[in-house]
Amino acid sequence: MDTALFEFCLRMGDNTLVLGHRVSEWCGHAPVLEEDIALANTALDLIGQTQFWLGLAGEVEGKGRDADTLAFRRDAWDFRSVLLVEQPNGDFGQTMMRQFLFDAWQSLMLDRLKDSSDVRVKAIAEKASKEVAYHLDRSRDTVVGLGDGTAESHSRMQAALDKLYPYVGELFGADEIDAEIAERGIAPLPADLRGAYDALIADIMAEATLTIPDSRWTHTGGRDGTRHSEHLGHMLTEMQWLQRAYPDARW
């Protein structure tokens, strides 16, 4: 089996699955109807991307697991989502800050994946990057609007940034899988995206009048599965319930 490609696809697909789930928790609870629509739309796109990434992962693995099996029948330790996307929604500001920090990374990554040496990866990136460009437009506008809004919205957004920034570094992690994937031209080394990412978020945070924490220290353990957050396990109890309780059913 092509372990590196399999793991790469899980990393991409578990991020979208977990974040899509988190965003979908907002359904019917957003601050205004337009946001209910936008959040549902974002979740929908992310779940759609999950179908592609996990579908490809299953194909690469070649053991008959499809996207649903991978999504609904793995326990937490087999997930490869970064800790950032596992973080709880918090208030709307925290949700949108998490979204922006992820969108910024994802848009840069997908942009590079459009040149992937793997045609399947390339095809997913081409489709997904359009959706993500839109997500980024939205989350950026919201972060700027709330950062540069009232005193309260500013302080909530700063708190969200302070809370979430220590999870950003993991997006740029590097291990043998990353090295192999980069060598084969499937994807860039995550670290290669950091410069552009930092420039992008520096711009936006300046516009949002928010201060990026000094320390680059980062939590890790999600993308290699060694130590997820406690949140992921709780999420899976909901997400996988039906498939686990009724393993023989088809839906």
């Binding site: 699955l17 789930h21 979908s24 928790e25 359904c27 019917g28 609870h29 957003a30 601050p31 205004v32 109807l33 337009e34 946001e35 209910d36 629509i37 549902a40 739309n41 979740a43 929908l44 779940i47 759609g48 999950t50 179908q51 996990l54 996207a67 649903d68 999504a71 609904f72 208030d91 709307f92 500001g93 919201t142 700027v144 609007g145 709330l146 540069d148 809004g149 009232t150 309260e152 919205s153 500013h154 909530r156 909901e238 997400m239 319930w241 039906l242 498939q243 009724y246 023989d248 059913a249 088809r250 839906w251």
Partner: protein
């Protein structure tokens, strides 16, 4: 009847559309606002019982379909609030009335969704009943409302088919899935019948609304039509309708069926449905928790406008 009123009624009778800037009787405006807003509120509150299963949807595809549906519903809420706004009331005012209980939403959303087949039943029965109510309203006399309904009906009938598709999978599935489907049927049948409202014989407003073409059919006509359409579908699914007296009447060419328990209907309307408290609490919390967001975005928009002005 004044001259204006007669002229107005003539236009309605001639199937002309009334537009926002046209003169209209105060009662027409008020009744329309109440009806459109109630419909809008129903779309918004209706997100909740389905949202209850988004995080437990059994496959990625089902999750995506459900997300798309709930997104549509929020969109319908938006069109309808816009239609109501053309009558001179703001969305925020309408929201306040929903939250303080002075405006209602469809009572069906005060029932819980308890198993995955409920998501099928909501699509098949609840959206089915809603469409039955809404299709004639595409021909309603008020232009913006009529146009909103045309757009909505198209999407709703898609939702209904998706709901039926879920029910089909469940009804043809494992024994547990069949049991889920039947359980959903048992719980949603009468509440769906109640969606058409009590018999018009008991309603004073109906005649005027029908004259104004805000209401096109009587509640009982629509209910009968719904039963006639739904019974064969249930039979095809192999589900039992929880009404021992339900049977085909050769003479009338319709199904005879039992009336729902209207005392339950009035209890739910009074706030005593299984989920009234939860639903309103959820919407109030969303609104209250969102205040800082709305204020923040507003403040930013003003700052930006001011900066633009200063730069000119």
């Amino acid at each position: 009847m004044t001259e204006e009123e007669r002229h107005f009624q003539d236009r309605v009778d001639a199937d002309e559309k009334i537009e926002p800037k046209d003169w209209m009787p105060e009662g027409y405006r008020k009744t329309l606002i109440r009806q459109i807003a109630q419909h809008a509120h129903s779309e918004v509150v209706g997100q909740l019982p389905e949202g209850n299963w988004i995080t437990r949807a059994p496959t990625l595809e089902r999750k995506a379909i459900l997300l798309a549906k709930v997104q549509d519903e929020a969109g319908h809420g938006l069109y309808l609030y816009c239609a109501a706004e053309t009558l001179g009331i703001s969305r925020d005012e309408l929201t306040e009335k929903l939250l303080d209980g002075s405006m209602k939403y469809s009572s069906i959303f005060n029932y819980p969704t308890l198993n995955w087949a409920d998501i099928g039943a909501v699509g098949w029965l609840v959206d089915g009943a809603a469409i039955m109510n809404q299709v004639p309203l595409q021909r309603t006399s008020y232009g913006p409302y009529s146009r909103a309904m045309i757009r909505i009906c198209k999407e709703e009938s898609f939702h209904q088919r998706q709901g039926y598709d879920i029910m089909m999978k469940m009804a043809k599935g494992t024994p547990e899935q069949k049991r889920m489907a039947q359980d959903a049927m048992n719980r949603f049948w009468y509440p769906a019948l109640m969606m058409f409202g009590p018999s018009d014989k008991d309603s004073v407003h109906s005649a005027q609304s029908m004259a104004w073409k805000i209401k096109i059919n009587t509640n009982d006509e629509l209910r009968q039509k719904f039963v006639d359409q739904t019974v064969p579908q249930a039979e095809y699914l192999g589900l039992t309708i929880p009404d021992p007296d339900l049977k085909w009447n050769e003479e009338t060419g319709h199904y005879d069926f039992s009336e729902p328990d209207w005392s339950e209907f009035y209890e739910v309307l009074k706030g005593n449905g299984p989920c009234n408290t939860e639903r309103l609490e959820a919407r109030r919390k969303a609104w209250d928790d969102g205040a800082w967001v709305r204020d923040g975005l507003m403040a930013h928009a003003e700052k930006r406008a001011a900066r633009r002005t200063a730069a000119e």
